[in-house]
């Protein structure tokens, strides 16, 4: 697509970059007026990403690997930066990785936020980030063969499961504690649960000195199945299932990525409907988390009350989409159901009710005596660490960084209305909880405003053609933060590459810093303040560094201790 040069937002950042690094940029390609992909020399990669990140208000959204050998003869790695300075845009730094050496310089030493992305590219494509400080596997299990990289185009069928090559777990957990600590392993391997993770807390008595953890125990291989089996519109419904809480945000991010790549003009009414549904989803998700905060600090009555009120948001979703979850409302080019007069009236009624109900509960939550002490100053996420690791959503907004995709890169219908970014400087669990509570009311305001301003007209366009090998980003602000998708169309009515990054992916790497310096009984509420899909982390190992002993404790026991703070499971 040709983007007229006067429309381009971010061009001055590129000229400033050319000023300091004259020969770094080999190629520049604009996908939309606010999205550009620059191909850089491998030798300049570190400097380019570092300059954009620290000198032009960049944040790393995602790192995408792509096997482009059949298109250009090389592999490619894309570093997606969300530029949030005066010129808000996305700059994607692309580096080509030769098919013979399969090596490229790691950016992690200068921009720590790239660490998970580079580890994943190493697993999935077998490309070697030279100088990557943490070379452990991220996604692949310990018993996976060394030379099998699932997302390479010539590697394997999506249904194949290779024979295990190891019997035991070999993953080394990292403990940066200076003195001796005890290990407290938490989780996982409860195979019936959908999202287990293993936490290892290194403790000295009751104090957490350091923590390490491992996710991806039940990696579903969604990117592979989308690239191998499904058509463009079918992936929309798969994206709905990336998350059981905020799946619609993924569905919107995916359709937006294809719409951006092909330059589809989505009807304004469809975009407004998408935003209304995204806010409905945010409301139920935030109310859920507010309830969980109550639960983790032992205020179970509050938990029950928040869940009772949350039910109204669920019923609203059912009214508007036909389902409480997995809305199935998107197609590429628009939405499948309109919001009719009767539904709009009912939405306004429920929204007014929710405003009153939630206000009452939030007042109760903040006034309950023993809640304050459990969330105030607990689980601190330092502002600078947040800056270095690019976390997203209420987590980063609770640490004084006002970044919100709805305002920074207005997508769907957010351009039609005024967006407020909530942020607090407390850096603790309380700050994150306050951000969420305020955002519930913002969501209600947005829903009302969107119902007022949504223009009439079509809700779906079919006036476009699929073109091969076009790519672009799609993004949304999910309840947990920015979701970002990078899609490239193929030549067989299937995606050539789909990279889908959920918000919590960017939030896990900072958790260890949030746990340090707190006590074991605070661990559940700290992890809960990330609002991850945590329910399935069912066991914890504690390692006492001084006594050199290790105990495994069921998660119910840790949570109970978190609530009651009596009868420590470690004694």
């Amino acid at each position: 697509m040709d983007i007229l040069s006067q429309d381009r937002v971010g061009a001055s950042i590129l000229s400033a970059l050319r000023g300091v690094l004259p020969h770094a940029i080999l190629q520049e390609e604009w996908q939309t007026p606010r999205q550009v992909t620059i191909t850089v020399k491998p030798s300049a990669l570190q400097d380019v990403v570092k300059t954009l990140y620290y000198e032009h208000y960049g944040w790393v959204s995602v790192v995408v690997g792509n096997d482009e050998r059949s298109l250009t003869g090389v592999f490619a790695v894309y570093y997606v930066l969300s530029m949030e300075g005066p010129e808000k845009c996305h700059i994607v730094v692309r580096v080509e990785v030769p098919a013979d050496t399969q090596e490229f310089p790691s950016v992690t030493p200068v921009v720590p936020a790239c660490v998970w992305g580079e580890r994943e590219v190493r697993d999935m494509f077998g490309l070697k980030p030279v100088g990557l400080p943490d070379e452990r596997r991220l996604v692949l299990p310990d018993d996976w063969p060394d030379d099998l990289h699932p997302l390479r185009k010539d590697s394997m069928d999506y249904r194949m499961r290779p024979a295990p090559v190891a019997d035991n777990e070999t993953y080394p957990f990292i403990n940066e504690a200076k003195g001796e600590t005890t290990i407290v392993p938490v989780g996982p391997l409860h195979i019936t649960s959908d999202e287990p993770g293993h936490f290892r807390l290194f403790v000295d008595g009751e104090d957490i000195i350091d923590a390490d953890y491992r996710m991806f125990y039940v990696h579903r291989g969604m990117e592979k199945v989308a690239e191998s089996r499904m058509g463009y519109n079918e992936v929309t419904f798969l994206a709905d299932r990336v998350c059981g809480i905020c799946g619609y945000a993924h569905s919107v991010a995916y359709t937006t990525s294809i719409e951006n790549a092909l330059g589809i003009n989505v009807p304004a009414r469809a975009q407004a409907i998408r935003s209304i549904l995204l806010e409905t989803e945010r409301m139920h998700s935030h109310l859920l988390n507010l309830g969980l905060v109550c639960h983790y600090v032992g205020f179970d009555t509050g938990f029950q009350q928040f869940f009772r009120v949350r039910e109204k948001a669920m019923t609203l979703a059912e009214l508007l989409t036909g389902s409480r979850k997995t809305y199935a409302m998107n197609l590429i080019g628009g939405v499948r159901r309109d919001i009719l007069g009767e539904q709009a009236a009912e939405t306004r009624r429920v929204s007014a009710e929710l405003r009153v109900d939630t206000q009452r509960l939030v007042d109760i939550l903040l006034e309950t005596a023993n809640v304050g002490g459990r969330v105030n100053g607990v689980g601190l996420l330092d502002k600078q660490i947040a800056r270095d690791y690019s976390p997203v959503g209420p987590l980063v907004r609770g640490s004084g960084h006002a970044r919100d995709t709805r305002a920074d890169h207005a997508f769907a219908g957010y351009g039609l209305v005024k967006n407020t970014i909530r942020s607090h400087d407390g850096c603790d669990v309380l700050a994150r909880t306050l951000v969420r509570a305020e955002e519930v009311f913002d969501s209600l305001d947005l829903i009302d405003a969107l119902l007022d301003t949504a223009p009439g007209g079509a809700i779906l366009t079919e006036d476009f053609e699929y073109l091969p090998h076009k790519f672009a980003l799609g993004f949304t602000e999910a309840p947990r933060g920015e979701d970002i998708h990078w899609s490239m169309t193929g030549d067989n009515q299937k995606l050539y590459r789909w990279r889908c990054r959920a918000s919590t992916y960017n939030n896990w790497p900072v958790l260890r810093y949030m746990l340090r310096g707190n006590t074991v009984s605070d661990a559940p509420v700290i992890v809960g303040s990330l609002d991850p899909c945590y329910s399935c982390t069912d066991r914890v190992t504690f390692v006492d560094v001084r006594k050199q002993k290790s105990v495994t404790v069921p998660i119910e026991e840790v949570e109970r201790y978190g609530r009651e703070r009596k009868n420590s499971p470690l004694k």
Partner: protein
């Protein structure tokens, strides 16, 4: 604390009687898809639209049948089948109670007969689909009945049609040669 007590009294009972009383869902709830085999023409549009491959079709040339099937265990209730169906044979209902005692009960099947090609005699397409195409053609040409040529074309399999076309082309070439020689 007082506020909380007040809230609890204001709320009263929040639990519902389900499953001892039926649970009402919203008007356009997306539940179990119902298939009406009488209306279905086995065109396979729904099998292509279905994202999780819950709806599938299998053709058995030996038996001369095509079996349509839905696996409710795989269904995601998106309703793409309803959107793609040309005859309204499949549609979503508000029924959400799909639990069964045995996995096999989640499958529903419908068997359709394939029509035999007029020329080679091999089964090639569902008889109902051909009838439907015939009705569409008749409607398009605003005629009461199909012409004999249309009827033959409908009842011939693609392979025989290709062969007939080739034959016709070859005949034409000979005819043209004969003409130039004259």
């Amino acid at each position: 604390m007082l506020k909380l007590l007040k809230e609890i009294f204001r709320t009263g009972e929040a639990t519902v009687k389900y499953p001892f009383a039926p649970l009402e869902v919203s008007k356009d709830f997306r539940g179990k898809p119902e298939h009406e085999a009488e209306k279905c023409i086995a065109c396979a549009a729904c099998t292509i639209a279905c994202p999780p491959n819950a709806i599938q079709m299998e053709t058995d040339i030996e038996a001369g049948t095509r079996t349509w099937s839905i696996n409710y265990g795989r269904c995601v209730f998106c309703g793409r089948c309803e959107e793609s169906c040309p005859t309204g044979a499949i549609y979503l209902t508000p029924d959400f109670e799909l639990a069964v005692g045995s996995k096999a009960d989640l499958m529903r099947r419908a068997v359709f007969t394939l029509a035999q090609c007029e020329v080679c005699g091999k089964p090639f397409a569902p008889a109902k689909e051909i009838a439907y195409a015939g009705a569409l053609l008749a409607q398009a040409s605003e005629a009461e009945e199909l012409t004999d040529r249309q009827r033959t074309l409908l009842a011939t399999c693609p392979e025989c049609k290709r062969r007939a076309d080739l034959q016709k082309l070859a005949d034409m070439a000979i005819a043209r040669q004969m003409e130039t020689r004259k």
